[in-house]
């Protein structure tokens, strides 16, 4: 991956001025490259990585494994497109292995997710079966640890 993209993936708030210094480029060049990535749809958005477990909010998350019958000329994509339109679905992936689609789903409580899966997902045309696993705790998200290990104290001066 381009180094600029790598740095933005790690910290989207890095300023063009700092990025320019790190990459030995001009600020204008950095700005135009970012605009180009946005225009081409390679950068699709900027989000914060939030430790939701430490917030006092009512959110329940689950992963749902979905088995699907592929359809002629549409493969899995047609069903996947329908599934991904539901606002409950955060992420959706086509998988190899014993099931076909993996959905990350969120709701206010267990009941909301259960209803969504049984009433909306399972009844979609082409969906053969679903298996729902509720998430209990997040340890690491997008490469970021949710709990920093205690840092070791280095000497303040060393040769």
């Amino acid at each position: 991956m381009d180094e600029l993209l790598e740095l933005l993936c790690r910290n989207a708030l890095e300023t063009p001025a700092d990025l320019a210094r790190m990459l030995n480029a001009s600020e204008d060049d950095i700005r135009s490259r970012i605009s180009e990535y946005e225009a081409k749809g390679i950068i699709r958005g900027y989000q914060a990585i939030v430790d939701e477990d430490s917030l006092d909010t009512d959110t329940v998350k689950a992963v749902v494994e979905i088995k699907v019958t592929p359809v002629r000329e549409g493969g899995f994509d047609r069903t996947a497109a329908r599934v991904s339109r539901f606002h409950e679905v955060d992420s959706l992936y086509l998988m190899s292995g014993t099931y076909d689609l993996l959905a990350m789903v969120r709701g206010r409580d267990l009941r909301e997710i259960a209803t969504f899966v049984s009433a909306k997902l399972a009844t979609l045309e082409g969906v053969l079966s679903t298996a729902t696993h509720f998430m209990l705790k997040a340890y690491k998200k997008q490469g970021v640890l949710m709990e920093e290990p205690p840092s070791d104290e280095r000497l303040q001066v060393s040769p």
Binding site: L7, R21, M22, L23, R154, L155, Q156, V157, S158, P159
Partner: protein
């Protein structure tokens, strides 16, 4: 008996003549303060890669806590042999030519003690790591300084070396990339210095601890020059590129007779390097993923800090290796020591005064960028405030 010695008199003469390290004075000053940003740390801010730590835990778990052979675990020596061959095109026999030591610091001491006779002159370039001069003196050699300067990016030339060479010169001690200047040698320069060593029949001790942290161009060891392998002691270790400082594991590679001589000292003084560290080092050599990631991060920080310092008005050459920049502070009218002290007192930023690395380091400051990026940014802002006030 009424003429018993005073306690200080009991300290050996040659040791009394060696001054205290300037870096220790500065350390004591810094350690009295809290909440400072330190750019004075000569070790990675990364923790040792997880796979390496995991290997050490596994070794401890299965009770691998005994001595190892004096030379070190053969498995590690073989892994090092392969690595040095792949990285530098140098072949050493793991059975007779590679010695595992307690960090490259021990290897350096062994190398000097193994080849220096009392009165032998040892050439070394300054500004340099704080240990070189004292180690030569402790081996009863005569340290001969070759001063490098900012004008040519702290490079070492044959001309500079020739000027300091006498009939008593026996050893040339090199450290590229260099702590504290970050200077690295190009292949042409390596060849030039190699030819110099050959022509004067010198033994070369090459401390290559920062060699993985080379950012522009290729790295190559002087030992790979024609005719140099037989007269070079190649020193390396795991502290910097693998972020394993506390493991204390390094190595020396040299022809069998030289290795055997170093082994003699090592055997009687150290026995062997710590077993767990050797086990961890084997794992370190099996994965270079993390060293690549760290190098990329250091390179970006270097770019940032060099550009920021030059903007501030402190002329700073772009170093090609290690994790130090060495800006010139002469235009502020302060000495290195004054600048570092006042920067610490007024802005809570610690950098090591350049004269801690030899007289030719006067007028400079060593800033380590082995520090979290956000900290570097804040430090640069504070240094800007400081310099603006000074020059106002």
């Amino acid at each position: 008996m009424n003429d018993s010695k005073s306690v200080p008199d009991r300290v050996a003469d040659h040791l009394r003549r060696i001054p205290r390290s300037g870096i220790r004075d500065f350390f004591e000053l810094v350690s009295q303060r809290s909440d400072i940003i330190s750019l004075s740390i000569g070790e990675p801010d990364f923790v040792t890669p997880w796979t390496v730590r995991e290997a050490a835990i596994f070794a401890l778990d299965r009770g691998a806590t005994s001595y190892t052979p004096n030379m070190g675990l053969l498995k590690l020596r073989r892994a090092i042999g392969g690595y040095v061959d792949r990285s530098f095109g140098l072949r050493y026999d793991p059975e007779t030519e590679i010695l595992i030591t307690v960090g490259v610091s021990e290897a350096l001491d062994l190398a000097i003690r193994a080849v220096v006779n009392p009165g032998d002159e040892v050439l070394y370039h300054e500004p340099c790591y704080v240990s070189y001069r004292p180690l030569i003196a402790m081996a009863h050699g005569v340290p001969v300084t070759v001063a490098t300067s900012r004008e040519n990016g702290f490079r070492l030339t044959r001309e500079m070396l020739e000027a300091q060479t006498t009939s008593r010169t026996r050893v040339l001690l090199l450290n590229f990339p260099t702590n504290p200047t970050g200077a690295a040698m190009t292949p042409t320069e390596v060849a030039e210095i190699g030819a110099f060593a050959r022509d004067h029949d010198l033994l070369v001790i090459s401390d290559e601890i920062y060699s993985e942290l080379t950012y522009d161009g290729e790295r190559g060891s002087i030992a790979a020059c024609p005719g140099l392998r037989e007269r070079t002691i190649f020193l390396h270790g795991f502290s910097k590129a693998w972020a394993m400082t506390g493991f204390r594991v390094g190595y020396a590679a040299a022809p069998p007779e030289l290795t055997e001589a170093m082994m003699k000292i090592h055997q009687y003084t150290m026995l062997c390097a710590p077993r767990l560290s050797q086990e961890a080092a084997i794992e370190a050599l099996q994965s270079d993923r993390d060293t690549g990631i760290m190098r990329d991060e250091y390179r970006r920080r270097r770019n940032y800090i060099v550009s920021a310092l030059n903007d501030i008005g402190l002329a700073c050459h772009q170093p090609s290796g290690a994790f130090y920049v060495f800006p010139c502070i002469e235009n502020t009218g302060l000495s290195s020591q004054e600048f570092a002290m006042r920067l610490l007192e007024e802005e809570d930023v610690a950098c090591v005064p350049g004269n801690a690395f030899g007289a030719s380091g006067e007028g400079f400051l060593r800033c380590s960028y082995a520090t979290d990026f956000d900290q570097i940014k804040i430090a640069m802002d504070r240094m800007r405030n400081f310099v603006v006030r000074l020059l106002a």
